[in-house]
């Protein structure tokens, strides 16, 4: 029988703080370039993410502003909240790279860009609760999808995860 990870590994104070006082949680963003809707059908979690991309001729496009809204557990909503803080202002390619660092961390494959993830680092402990990993990834998956949707020249995308 596996050892029992501590509940405090899952629900760190930083995570509960994001859950109680969400950052950049909003049902609308005016104007925005992309809106994506992501659902985890197995648990019923749903998340809307809106992204405004700031781009000028002289610089690479950046995350101008990103907001999320949704119906989900504390882990999924808090992770999306922490994600918005970590990626705002970053170049799109850089935000993608940071998302990959988060994904690897959640799968127990090392901790990279610890300082850039900001409060996202607090979700490390979720990796010990395999059934909750997909909750923590939902917001980051939505961001990744929003960026690729933007790059493809589209404004809307809906994804249902397996």
């Amino acid at each position: 029988m596996s050892s029992t990870p501590n509940l405090d590994d899952l629900y760190q104070e930083i995570i509960l703080d994001h859950y109680r006082k969400p950052r950049h949680r909003a049902a609308e963003l005016v104007p925005h370039d992309v809106h994506v809707h992501h659902a985890n059908p197995l648990c019923g979690d749903e998340l809307d993410l809106r992204l405004r991309v700031d781009s000028t001729d002289s610089s690479a496009p950046r995350v101008g502003e990103v907001v999320y809204d949704g119906d989900g557990c504390s882990i999924s909503m808090a992770s999306a909240s922490a994600m918005t803080e970590a990626v705002t202002g970053r170049e799109l390619a850089d935000a993608d790279d940071l998302g990959e660092a988060f994904r690897l961390m959640m799968h127990g494959e090392g901790l990279k860009r610890e300082d850039d993830l900001l409060d996202g680092v607090a979700f490390q402990g979720v990796a010990k609760f395999p059934v909750r990993v997909k909750c923590a990834l939902l917001g980051w998956m939505a961001l990744k999808d929003a960026i690729s949707t933007y790059r493809a020249g589209n404004q809307e995308h809906r994804v249902t995860h397996d």
Binding site: L7, G44, E46, C73, S74, I75, F129
Partner: protein, 414 residues
């Protein structure tokens, strides 16, 4: 009244601990635990009689065939069906698929209504949806009342209006909701549908009712009843389609292969008689034996006693949940109108968080949409927490559940 402490001794898994606490298993609507008698029956079959059925002339083949057919007889008696109308499938879902592809796709067409409800499990929604485009019938859903004293029950006025069209050719309805526990007036609905259209066929989802209520196919006025073994103390891997042999006779086979044939040539095939026509390939033999033992176990307890035990638990759990601040219980308020699957919401808390924290207390509940997304949406959310009770649950466990909810609230309020 059954003696729950004696019953508990028959279930070895109840002795284990989870995260250092005694297991409080409140997820029997997903799958039930198995008594020693079921485990022993399956072991004995493999240790002493294992062979393939309906073929071979040796002693083991005869014993295996007899054990398999004996189990069919037990299951038939348990639900008041003709053994020739008892088809073993791999689960209740497969039973619905047999009916969708072999019955609905042939019997229903343009202008016909297949009438279902908003309360159904996906197993009783998706198969019909899959065959609908080819067959051309219309699917209508009886609404679920969402507010007031009748919340969580079917809107029977709306049902009557649809039935009055005279176009309902198939009614499919759950006898007991797996989410909110509602016991539906199946016999009354079946009679009304038949009055309006003598050719109508009635299908009942018994996955939740057969394990928990005395069941009689005739009393239900149903043509077909679908249920699964693993929710009624039996093993996984076996389900049952119980129905009228003459209707099964008229239906083409669903799956083809060995066992279901009378004669095969390279030019074509004639089919075996029912129920074998619908049992292609080597069937779940040990599982049937296990299900037969489960039926024996439930019959020895007595299904009236099983129901009385659950009503007694509901009389504790419903007021206890309602007394917790911020808790809303879904479905009928009175134990008489419902089964022991109890979904609830806790204000400000997500079911997954509740489920994770309860797990730490040793309490196993289900968090999610319970494979009934349309109904859970109607309840105003994407997920609920569900505690479901069975023969081995105690009043003390109700208190553990309530304490665990309070602990979860404290955890998130800190």
């Amino acid at each position: 009244m059954l003696d729950v402490e004696t019953v508990r001794k028959d279930f070895p898994i109840l002795e284990r601990q989870v995260h250092g606490r005694p297991l409080v298993y409140l997820d029997s609507a997903a799958t039930s635990q198995k008594p020693q008698a079921v485990l022993d029956a399956m072991d004995r079959y493999y240790e002493q009689s294992n062979a393939n059925v309906h073929r071979g002339v040796h002693a083991l083949a005869e014993e295996a065939t007899e054990a398999y057919e004996h189990a069919r007889g037990k299951v038939a008696r348990f639900v008041g069906a003709d053994p020739r109308g008892v088809v073993f499938t791999k689960n209740a879902t497969e039973a619905f698929n047999v009916l969708a592809y072999s019955l609905a796709a042939n019997r229903l067409g343009d202008g016909d209504i297949l009438l279902s409800t908003q309360m159904e499990h996906h197993a009783n929604l998706v198969p019909w949806q899959l065959v609908q485009p080819r067959a051309g019938f219309e699917i209508r859903y009886i609404p679920v009342i969402t507010a007031g004293p009748e919340a969580g029950t079917l809107d029977l006025d709306a049902f009557d209006e649809i039935v009055a069209t005279g176009r309902v050719k198939l009614l499919t309805v759950t006898a007991m909701s797996n989410v909110v526990g509602t016991i539906n007036p199946v016999a009354q609905m079946a009679a009304r549908v038949r009055n309006a259209n003598a050719e109508a066929v009635v299908v009942v989802d018994g996955a939740q009712s057969v394990p928990h209520l005395p069941t009689d196919l005739l009393a239900l006025e149903a043509d077909f009843l679908c249920f699964s073994g693993h929710k009624m103390l039996g093993p996984t891997g076996i389900g049952v389609l119980a129905g009228k042999p003459e209707l099964l006779d008229d239906m083409p086979p669903f799956l083809g292969g060995g066992e279901m044939i009378a004669n095969v040539t390279l030019e074509g095939t004639t089919f075996n008689e029912v129920p074998y026509k619908f049992e292609a390939g080597t069937p779940p033999i040990a599982e049937a034996v296990g299900l037969g033992a489960a039926v024996d176990y439930l019959s020895a307890l007595g299904m009236d006693a099983v129901r009385a035990h659950e009503v007694a638990l509901l009389e504790h759990v419903l007021p206890a949940l309602n007394s917790v601040e911020g808790v809303t219980v879904h479905g009928p308020a009175e134990p008489s109108g419902r089964g022991a699957a109890v979904s609830f919401a806790v204000e400000g808390l997500h079911p997954h968080d509740i489920g994770t924290i309860m797990d730490r207390e040793g309490v196993a509940v289900r968090a999610g949409h319970h494979c009934a997304k349309p109904l859970v949406r109607l309840l105003g959310s994407a997920a609920t927490t569900r505690a479901s009770f069975y023969v081995y649950n105690t009043v003390d466990e109700v208190q553990v559940l309530i304490d665990a909810i309070e602990a979860t609230k404290r955890f998130f309020a800190r």
